[in-house]
């Protein structure tokens, strides 16, 4: 362990010295250094198959830099990294989480390394950190949805308030903000729009409590529940592509927008590989892959939305607000757990 740390520390120093601060493009020297580092470790909250798809594309582009994917829910990713850093373990290179407030926390802790991939320069300002520590890698909407075999279209709920009708008792599924960043961001947006009274009433509807917003779409696709209160839009697209009997509902009250940034850790054991990988993540090719295979929304100017999906512009969106959310995270989790259980 000891020698391992020392070596990676020295490697980081060399890398920092060798790279002029402005040169953040992928250079052959950077790739060579990255190959010497041997791999890149990526903690991500994206669906495990999408994550492995990205890793596969990276492996094809840089065969000598394997990607180690550690997938978990955003809140779990956050907890793991914090626990590791507290115990002096530096394992993570690049992180992706759907809870944007995490990045503000890490930035405050001075754990992140500033790095702006070339593509990010062209992103709208609201999708990137002014100091260059992180940028929205992908976005998803926390959508409602239902199983079309079990619910006729006429009966389907149109918005969140419809879910309080007695007929939905025992038929709903929802992800947990204590686990999922998307659920946290979405639940926070709901409390802003509808208040905690709404969640109190919802909690009396016998809601199946799953952990991840990647799990709820699978629950209605299998028919385990009829209606999903929140879930990743991209998982819904995946299910629809698989011809699962499900349909998305963009609630009339508005659909929470969930930006999901990535960043590089200052203590990354593979700093060059991290930069090569981070640059790769924001290329139009990967952004398009996120849309086509991952069902995500992208803020990259060059990507094309596939036909059949409702364009972002036509959806009433509840924007995310990580800065306002950060101080309230513990309160949201606690009140939510009191209502819905762990």
């Amino acid at each position: 362990m000891e020698s391992f740390h020392r070596r990676s520390f020295i490697a980081a120093l060399i890398a920092a010295a060798a790279l002029p601060v402005a040169a953040q493009e992928t250079t052959p020297a950077m790739v060579a250094a990255a190959e010497k580092e041997g791999k890149v470790v990526w903690y991500s909250s994206v669906d495990v198959k999408v994550a492995e798809g990205v890793a596969k594309a990276f492996r094809e582009a840089y065969p000598k830099i394997p990607v180690e994917v550690e997938r978990s829910g955003s809140e779990r990713v956050f907890q793991r990294i914090n626990q590791e850093y507290q115990s002096g373990i530096k394992n993570v290179d690049v992180v992706n989480s759907s809870d944007a407030s995490h990045f503000i926390f890490w930035k405050d802790q001075k754990w992140l390394a500033p790095h702006t991939p070339p593509d990010v320069k062209r992103f709208a300002a609201r999708y990137k950190d002014p100091d260059g520590y992180f940028a929205t890698w992908r976005a998803t909407l926390s959508v409602m949805a239902y199983n079309t075999k079990l619910v006729p279209e006429a009966d389907a709920p149109k918005g969140y308030l419809d879910l309080l009708e007695p007929k939905w008792k025992g038929k709903l599924t929802k992800a947990h903000p204590g686990y999922s960043g998307t659920a946290l961001t979405g639940t926070f947006a709901l409390t802003k729009a509808l208040g905690w009274e709404y969640l109190e009433k919802l909690s009396k509807q016998g809601v199946q409590q799953l952990q991840s917003t990647t799990a709820t779409p699978k629950s209605i696709a299998s028919g385990e529940r009829m209606v999903m209160v929140d879930g990743n839009e991209y998982n819904m697209f995946i299910e629809i592509d698989k011809k699962s009997p499900v349909k998305i509902v963009y609630a009339k009250e508005g659909t929470p927008f969930v930006g999901s940034p990535t960043a590089i850790f200052a203590g990354a054991p593979h700093p060059n590989a991290a930069r090569v990988f981070q640059n790769f993540l924001y290329t139009a090719k990967i952004q398009q892959l996120l849309i086509d295979e991952g069902g995500a929304r992208s803020v990259h100017p060059d990507v094309k939305e596939p036909v059949g999906r409702t364009p972002l512009a036509q959806i009433k969106v509840l924007p995310d607000d990580p800065v306002a959310m950060l101080p309230k995270v513990e309160e949201i989790k606690k009140r939510y757990t009191a209502l819905f259980g762990n």
Partner: protein, 543 residues
């Protein structure tokens, strides 16, 4: 030796106790315990844990005791097959059963409920499901399915050594069969029933996987899931430690109670040679008896294994099989999923190193303490069996507290998980080796020394070959126990030190049932290969 063992076993308990009485400023406090007692969200899981564990114990006794009697004492057909299947339930990790039962007993999409709805022309959501596995009773049911083999084994073994004479003596004195059962057989197997109940209780109390899979989605917490959630960042270590202590106390109290019950009256069967067992005819009762076995083993083995196999090969697990077949999950797990290789490797490294070190440790301790070769040999056997009283998750809390602060920082490495496995499995290993050693009469060793062999030479030439079966079995027990471990690993793993069990647990967070099924089958195959290995490596001359 004594000091090393004491450090291994007592250090985690020491830090656990200290932390539970220490506040952030490192001052003595009772705050954590007050919090525990005041807060509904702690008291409720504790009560849930107690009643569900008791329910599992009762359920196990009610089903496994008749099963034990049927196999040991009646002419039930297919007994050998039943014994094999019960062994299979014994080695099936309970959390795999939990996974399988989500797929079988989910209230609306679960396969059993689908059959039920179809059979009666009902519609999901409108009718009550036949089973709702996401409930406290669902959890009790699944835990009972994988703990009943303890009770079964205790009862069957105790009936095996109770000579039929004792029952025949009652019959010839005029007692009809039911009175013989009531006055003679039942009191004689009572200690086995009590022991079985307590073991089932303790097993259920310390399980993490099944409650996390089945009770958490229903908003029900047990102590293990509660301790786990306290461990999430920012970890509330003082509270976690204070929450662990009641589990420790309950375990110690129950184990003492068991010793007290077993220790009164001379329950061991006495007298000389007996005529062996007389098997009862079942006649028409064979049908309900077989029904019991089919139901229990169907629920613990046939249906779960079946649904895991099915799920591993279909695209949408709740859909029909036709047109749904795929090898995608296998390809994903073994060729795309970057964690598989590392997790398999970690699991193997941990399993084989814990098994090897644990076996060496157990054998050394067993030899030294049984042959009274070192100072403090009595403490040795005490320390080697003490971890029995430490639930896995409590041990993990203790280890975490001991090895995340200098001088020895092991958190984040495989070492801390390795320590957990060795400590946890030591009692089983020690008991196994000690019973083999006890069966080697010291005169066999004395005979070797009188013919000129040294103690060490005797150990190599005489003792080692004689206890070989026990040692091989110990290694494989510890290996199997380690590769399925979840409740301690869940607190101790980091991204680089994942095992198969926590990988599966992570996959469950996102409902990736296909890959879970693939990994489950992989784990079962490895386990059964190991069980077969025990049989293969057993020296028949010594059995």
């Amino acid at each position: 030796m004594v000091v090393l063992l004491a450090a291994l076993v007592l250090l985690p308990l020491f830090w656990l106790t200290v932390t539970s009485f220490t506040d952030n400023a490192k001052h003595f406090t009772l705050e954590h315990y007050r919090h525990f007692l005041d807060d509904e969200s702690f008291v409720k899981p504790f009560i849930t844990t107690l009643w569900t564990s008791a329910a599992v114990g009762v359920l196990c006794v009610l089903t496994a005791a008749p099963m034990g009697w049927l196999v040991a004492r009646t002419e039930l057909p297919g007994k050998r097959l039943f014994r094999v299947l019960i062994l299979a339930s014994f080695v099936t990790p309970p959390f795999l059963g939990g996974f399988a039962w989500v797929l079988l007993g989910g209230p609306n999409a679960g396969i059993i409920n689908q059959w039920y709805y179809e059979l009666f022309g009902l519609k999901a959501f409108e009718a009550q499901p036949l089973v709702n596995i996401f409930s406290a009773w669902g959890m009790v049911f699944v835990m009972a399915l994988y703990t009943f083999p303890y009770v079964f084994t205790f009862v069957a073994n105790s009936l095996d050594v109770i000579p039929s004479d004792l029952e025949e003596a009652s019959a010839i004195l005029g007692a009809p069969p039911w009175r013989t059962a009531l006055h003679i057989t039942f009191p004689l197997v009572m200690p086995a029933l009590v022991a079985g109940f307590l073991v089932a209780f303790l097993q259920s109390m310390t399980l993490f996987g099944v409650p996390a899979i089945l009770a958490l989605p229903a908003g029900i917490d047990t102590m293990t899931t509660k301790i786990w959630s306290l461990f999430q960042f920012p970890p509330k270590l003082g509270l976690a430690a204070a929450a662990s202590v009641p589990l420790l106390i309950v375990t110690v109290v129950l184990l003492r109670a068991q010793a007290a019950i077993m220790g009164r009256r001379g329950y061991s069967v006495i007298g000389g040679k007996s005529t062996g067992q007389r098997l009862a005819r079942l006649g028409g009762w064979a049908v309900p008896a077989l029904g019991l076995f089919v139901f229990v083993l169907g629920c613990s083995i046939i249906l779960p294994y079946g649904v895991l196999l099915r799920t591993a090969f279909v695209k949408n697990w709740s859909g029909p099989v036709e047109g749904n077949l795929t090898l995608e999950h296998w390809r994903f797990v073994f060729f795309e999923f970057s964690q598989t290789r590392d997790a398999l490797l970690n699991t193997f490294i941990l399993g084989s190193s814990a098994a090897t070190v644990g076996t060496i440790l157990a054998t050394t301790i067993g030899y030294l303490s049984l042959r009274k070769l070192v100072w403090g040999h009595r403490y040795l056997s005490f320390l080697a069996t003490a971890p029995v009283a430490i639930p896995g998750i409590v041990l993990a809390v203790g280890l975490f507290l001991s090895y995340t602060t200098p001088p020895l920082v092991l958190y984040g490495t495989l070492w801390i998980i390795f320590l957990a496995y060795v400590t946890k499995e030591l009692p089983v290993g020690y008991q196994q080796v000690a019973s083999s050693l006890r069966s080697v009469h010291p005169e066999l060793e004395d005979a070797s020394r009188i013919f000129g062999a040294t103690r060490l030479g005797t150990l190599g030439r005489i003792t080692a070959p004689l206890i070989r079966n026990g040692v091989v079995a110990t290694w494989i027990f510890i290996f199997i126990g380690s590769i399925r471990e979840l409740s301690a690993t869940i607190l101790l793993f980091t991204a680089r030190t994942k095992t198969i069990s926590v990988t599966m647990f992570d996959l469950r967070e996102s409902n990736d049932w296909g890959p879970i099924a693939v990994l489950s089958i992989t784990m079962l195959v490895i386990t059964f290969m190991m069980v077969a290995a025990v049989t293969y490596f057993t020296d028949r001359r010594l059995t």
